[in-house]
Amino acid sequence: MTNLLSIVMSGIFAQSTLVPAPSQTAPIVIEHATIHTAVRGAPVLQDGFIILDGGKIVALGEGEARAAGGGPPPLNAQRIDAKGTHLTPGFISTATTLGLIETGAVRATDDRTEHGAFHPEVSAWVAINPDSDLIPVARLGGVLLALVFPQGGSVSGEASLIRLSGWTTEELAVVPDAGTIIRWPATEPAPRWYTTKNAAEQEKERRLAMQAIDKFFDEAKEYSRARKADQLLPLDLRFERLLDVLDGTRPLFIEAASAGQIESAILWAVDRAMRPIIVGGQGAPAVSDLLVAQNVPVIVSGVLRLPRFAHDEYDAAYTLPARLAAKGVEVAIATGDESSNDRNLVHHAAMAVAYGLPREEALGAITRVPAELCGAGGQYGVVAIGKSATILLHDGDPLEVKTSVRRAWLDGREIELASHQTQLKSKYEKKYGPQGGGATTGGAVPAGPPAQSKPSHPPASTSR
C-alpha cells in the first residue's frame, strides 16, 4: 500500500515529467475514503472503497473493499489507503475557453473568436493547445474535463468536451461537437452609462440581430430539407454542422443573462423544435416556470461574481443556483471567469452552498450535470460502476478553499499534479532554502551592474 501523501507535491517535478499519463495497466483499489458519488439522491459513502480497472470504475461500496463479484480485490491491484480523504468525480469546467487562449494581452495566443457573426462550423477541440500552461494549473484545482466554448459572433461555434490530459487534440477530444453556441441579443435597452446609444437605437439593433439569427436558421432549415432530397447539392459547412441541432439531437447553448433574453431564447428555440440550454442565467429565476416546463437546464456562469445591477441584492449572484434549484431547474455551475482561474471552479460551487444550495447538488453542478448536458453522462460526471475512472482525492472537504486535490485519475490514468507554477515554486525554494546555497538578491547598486543580483535565467517570456 502506498501512503497517500508520499506521491504528493514532492517538489521535484521538472518539465519533462509533465507527460501525459500512460493508460492504466493494473487495477487500483482506493479504500477508506469518504465518497461523494454525485449520483442524484445517492448518499455519501462513509469509509468507502472503489476499484478502478481498465480505466473504468469496476467496484464501489462501503467497508471492506470487494471486487465486483463480491470476492477480494485483485491481487495485482495497487492499494491506496485514503483514510481521511474525500473522493469525488473529476470536476468539469463548463463554458470555458481553456486551451483556446494563453495570454489575453497577446493576440497571437488567442484562438477564441472566429471572424464574422455566424460560424457554427468551427469546433473548439480543433484548436486546443494540449501543451497550454493553463491546463496543468486547472488540473491542480481538480478540473479534469472541460466543455470549451468558442466565443464571439451570434453563432460562435461548437462546444467541445475535452479531457485535460493527452498528447494530441484527438486524444483530448471526448465529445468534439457537444452543441452549438448562440449569443442571444440583449432584449432590454442598456442604461446610459453603458452606451451613448438610446433605447430606440438599441431596439433597432436588437431587431436587426434577431432578424439575422432567424434568417440564418431559416436558411439552415431549407438547406437541411434540400440536402435530404438531393445529396449532390453543394456542401455548406455552416449549415451542415447545424443539421442535428435543428432536429434537437444536439443542444443549443444559448448565452442569455436577463429574464427577457432567456424567455425569448427559449420560446424561439422551442418553436423551432431545438433543445436549448441557457448559459449565464442571472435573470433566470423570474422565468423558472418556463425553464421547468420546457426542461431547460441553466449553466450559471459564475457564482463569485458581481450582481447584475447596482440595485440587486448583494448576494444575488451567490444565491442564484439555490434559487433556481429550489424551483426545480437543473443547474450547472461554471466560473464565468478567465480560463486561467478554472482551478477555482469548486469555490464557486462552495459559495452557492453557503447561500443555500444543497451540498450534493453543488457537487453535481460541477460534475454530473455538465457531463449530461454535453451527452457524456454515460461516461463521466459521477462515481458509479461502469463509468470512467475519472476521480479526485481531496485532503479534506472538497468545498473548502483550504482543501487541495492530492491525487487525480483520468480514465484510470493517474494525473501528475504539477504545473509551470509548481516548477517555479520548486526552483525559487531552492534559491532561499538551506540546501539552495543561500543565494540572495542584491539591493542598491550605486554604480555599475548589480554585483550580487545573479539572474541565472532570463525572464520566462519577453516577446510582446
Binding site: 441579443p185 438610446n198 473548502e400 542598491a444 525572464p459
Partner: protein, 1061 residues
Amino acid sequence: MPPAVNASFRALILSFLVAPSAFAQSPPVNGIRPSDVRWDAIEHATVYSSPEVRIDDATILMRDGWIDAVGPVAQVTIPAGATIHDGRGMFIYAGFIEPALLVDSAALARTATSQVGAHWNPNVTPQIVVTDLPPISTGLRQELRALGFAVAAAYPDSGIFRGRGAILLLGETPAGTRTIGEGAGQFVSFGRRASDGRPRGGDEERAPIYPNSLMGAVALLRQTMLDARWRADSTAVWKSHPVGNDPPVAATALDALALAIDGKERVLFDATTESDALRAGGLAKEFGLNASILGSGNEFRNLNEIAALRLPIIVPLEFPSAPDLSSPRLSEGVSLADLKSWAVAPSNAARLLCAGASISLTTTRLKSRNEFPSRVREARDAGLSESQLIAALTTAPASLLGLSDTLGTIAPGRMANLTISNGPIFGDESRITKVWVAGREYDTTTPGDAPFESEFSRAGRFSIALSDGTQRILVIDPKKRTINFESTKADGSKQSTGATHVALDRWRGGFLVEGDALGLSGPVRCSLRIDGDRIQIESKSGNGLLVAFTATPVVDEVATAVEPVKPASNRALRPEVPVTFPFGDFGLASIPARETVIFRGATVWTSTDDGILLDSDVIVQDGIITQVGKDLAVPSNARVIDCAGRHLTPGLIDCHSHTGVDGSVNEWTEACTSEVRINDVIDATDVGWYRELAGGVTCVNQLHGSANPIGGQNSVVKLKWGSPVAEWPAGAAKPGIKFALGENVVRPAGRYPQTRMGVEAFLRDHFRSAQEYRRTQKDFAANGDGRIPPRIDLELEALAEILEGKRVIHCHSYRQDEILMLIRLADEFGFRVATFQHVLEGYKVADAIAKHGAGASCFSDWWAYKMEVMDAIPWAGAMMQSQGVVVSFNSDSDELARHLNLEAAKAVKYGNLPPTRALEFVTINPAKQIGVGERTGSIAAGKDADLALWSGDPLSPLSLCEQTWVEGTKRFDRIEDLAVRDSREALRQQLITAIYKPKEAEKDPKKPVPEAADAPAPKPAGLRERMLASKDEIFLDLWRRGIDIRSASQAGDCGCSEIAR
C-alpha cells in the same frame, strides 16, 4: 450696491436712453430721429412689489427705464405726460432673472488658447468674456421673455476655467440688450459637459488632453488657482523690485483670475452632480472664493451636506422622466433609486429651501426650455410656495448677482423690468402676456399663438333639427379633428357625411361639408362656436345663403364632453418616498449610531500574537475596543451580541481597490500625475462599499490606476456607509501615492516612456526635479527678499514629500527586474517603498524586498492575462512571508473584495500557512502597509472597533459574514439586510404602479428618449471618438451578457482598458 452707486449707474443709463446719439458706435439714423419716449403708468393692476408684498389695484409709474413710483391707485399720481396702460386683470412681478444662461464658447476658447498669454491647457480660458461672443440671438431673447425673463446672466460654456460671464438685458435694440452691473463672475467646471454632465476629456476631436478624469480636473483647478495667486504675488514683487527679477511673461489667463482668487469676483461652479456641489464647496473654502453653485437638480440626494455649504445654489428644473416599465422585463433593470429620483426630483428646490439653502431657478439643463413653466408648476405642487417661487426668480438671483438695488423688486429706483401675467403667475391657467425690459414693453405672445393653444373643448354627439323636420347628428372629435353628420334615412339606414377642411380651436372652428348633410345643396362653408352646452353653426352655401343651426347635445346618448385636459397633480402622481443616504437602494434614513457592545462568547481571531481566543468576549465603547477576554462584565447600556458558534475577526482590509472612485481611476493623459488626489473624488454612495461591508471589509486603500509611472495620490478610507464622505478618510493612514511599472505604463502610444529602461530614467529625472524644487524653495526662504517667490508645483510637492519620507509609494509591479529597479532607485534617493502591489514575481526577489523593508500586496492566484504575469504562482505570498516580507492579499476588483477571507484561505492552501497567519494577509498586514496598523487590523484593547462577525470559520467559503462594524458602528447586518428586502420591493412596486399608466404604454416607448433629441451628428473620428465607439461596443456586450460594468476592469488591469493602445 449703495444708493450713490445706483444713482450714478442710473445716470449712465439715462444718458443712453435720452440721447440715442450718445451711442458712439451707432450708425447715423436713416430718416427722422425716433423719439423713444419711455414714460408709462400701469394702473389698476395687481402688483407684487416683492415676493411677499402684494398691492391690489395698484399703479406703477416708470420713466426712462426706471421705476418712479408704485402703490395703490389712490396714492400714485400719474403725471400728465405718461402713457396710461389699463392693468385690470394683470398680475405684475419684478422681471425674472435667469442666473445661468450658458453660451457656446468652444470656438472662442480655441482661439483664446492660441493667443499670447494663454494658459498651456486649453481647458483654462478664464480670460474670455461672454460679451466677446456673438450676442445671443433675438430668438433666444424672445424665448426667454416668453418665460418671463427680463435679465440673464450669461456665461461661456466650454472648458474648466470657462471665462467671465455678463449680465444682459433681454430687450431689443442696443439699449435693450446692454450689459448691466460689473459682470457675472468666473464660471468654472469639473471638466464635465454642461449639457449632460458626461465627462469630457479635453477637446474631443483632438488628441486626449489633460485632464481626462474628475480628479485631474480638480487638480487642474487647484493648481491654476495657486498659479493665479503666485502670478499676482510675483507681479507685485517685480513691480517693487524690477531690478534683479526677470519681468513676468504675459499671462492673460492667470491675470483674469486675479480678482476671483482674492474673493473679489464671484465664481460660479458648474456642479453637474450632487457630489460636484460638495467638491465646489470644498474648493471655495480652500481658496476663500466668493462661490455659488449651478446645481444638477439632484441635490436632494445629499441635501443636508449641500445646504450646509451655505453657498447660493442655482437650481435647474430638469426632472427625470418616468422609466419605461411597459413590460415587467424592463423593470428588472430599474432601480429603486431611479424610481425614487423620479418621485422626489420635483421637490428638490423645496427641499433645498427647507434645509436653509438660498436658491434661484434656471432654465439651463432643461431638455427644452419651453418646459420651464410646467416644471415650475411641478415644483410648486411639490412644495414651493408662490412667494418662494417669485423670490427664486427675482430677489434671489438679484442678490446672487449683487444687483439687489437694481433688480428683483418693484420699487422706486429699481430698473423698470416687469413680468406680467393674466392671472396669478403660477396658476395652471395663467400665461405670461408681457415683459417690460428697462421701461420698454414686449409682447410675449407670438402672433397666432393665443388663444388657440388648446383643443376644442366640446366633443361628442349633437342633434340638429332641420327645417324639414328631420334630424341630423353632428359628431365632433377634436382629437382627430373630424366632424361628421349622420342622418337616418326613411328606410332606417344610416348615412354619414364627413366634413373637410376642419379647423378647431378651443371655442370655435370651421369646416366645409356637402350641403345635403344639412339639407342644403352644394358645398357649404360653415363656422361653429360653443354656446354653453350647445353649438351654434352658421353655414354659407354657394348661393350666399346664410343658414344658422343650433346643435344640442344628444341626451339619450352619453355626451362625452372632453374634460379640459389638465395635467394631473404631480404630487399625486409622484408619491412621497423616504429619502436615504446614499440615495441608492441600500441607503439609510439616518446615520447609524455608535454603540456600546459586548460580543459574547466568540471565537476571536485577534490577528495578534495571541492568535485565536476561544469563547471570549470583546467590549466596544466609543468606537474603540476597550477589553478582550473571558467572562467580561457587561458595561451599562451595552448591546449584548451572542456569538456562540460564531467567529469574530478584525474587519478585513483591502490594500488595493478602485471602489468608489468618482470618474476615471486613471488620469492617463500624462505620465506623471502626482498632483491628482483620489481624496478629491471619493464616492461614498458606490454600492460596491455596501457589498464589501457584506464581505467583512472595513478599510480600503483606494488607488489611482496603473497607466502612469507616477500616478495619483491614494486615499485610505473606512467604510462608513451612510455617513458623509468627509468622515471616510482614515486619519491615521500615511499619505501615499501610486506608482506603476511594466506593461501598463508603456501602453499609451507615443508617450515617454515606452520601455522599462525609460521608466527608470523617467523616475530618476522626476526625483531629481523634486530635489531641485525643494532646494529652490529653501534658498528662497533663506534669502528671498525682493525676489520673485518660487511657484508652488503640486506635482513636485508630492514627489518632494516622498523624498522627505512624508509620503509613501504603493507601486504596481510584476517582473523581478522592475521590482529591483525601484528598490535601487529608492535606496539611491534614500526613501522606502511602502508596498509593491501585485508584485507577482516578488517571490523571485523576496529577500531583496525584505531587505529594503517594503511590503508586498499581491493577488492570491491571478495570472496569465498578460506576459508579465505568466510567472505568477499562488505560493508567492507564503514564500515572500517566509523571507520576512510583510505580505497582504488584495482584490483590485469590486468582486474579489467581497470575499477577501477566501483569498486569505488560499495562503493555507498554497503555502501551508497557519490559518491565523493567513487571515493576517487581509487584516493586520495590509493595515501595517498603509500605515493604519496602530489603529486597526487586529483585535486588541485600544484599537478601533473594526470587526467582522462570521457564522463559522472565516476561512471557509461555507461561512457567511453576519455583521460588520466600523469604529463601533454597525454598518452591515445580514439579518437586517434580509429583513428590509420585502419593504424595499414593496416600495418599488408602489412606485412602479404610480408610474405605470396603461394608456401611455404604447405611446411612451415610441416617444424619442431624451438622448435622441440631439441626434448624433457625424463627427470626425477623433481618437476619443474612436475610443468611445469601441468602448460602447465592449460595454454593450457586457450588458448583453449581464455583467456589471464595474467588474469590467479585471484584477491587475487597474482600469487600464480605457487607455488608447
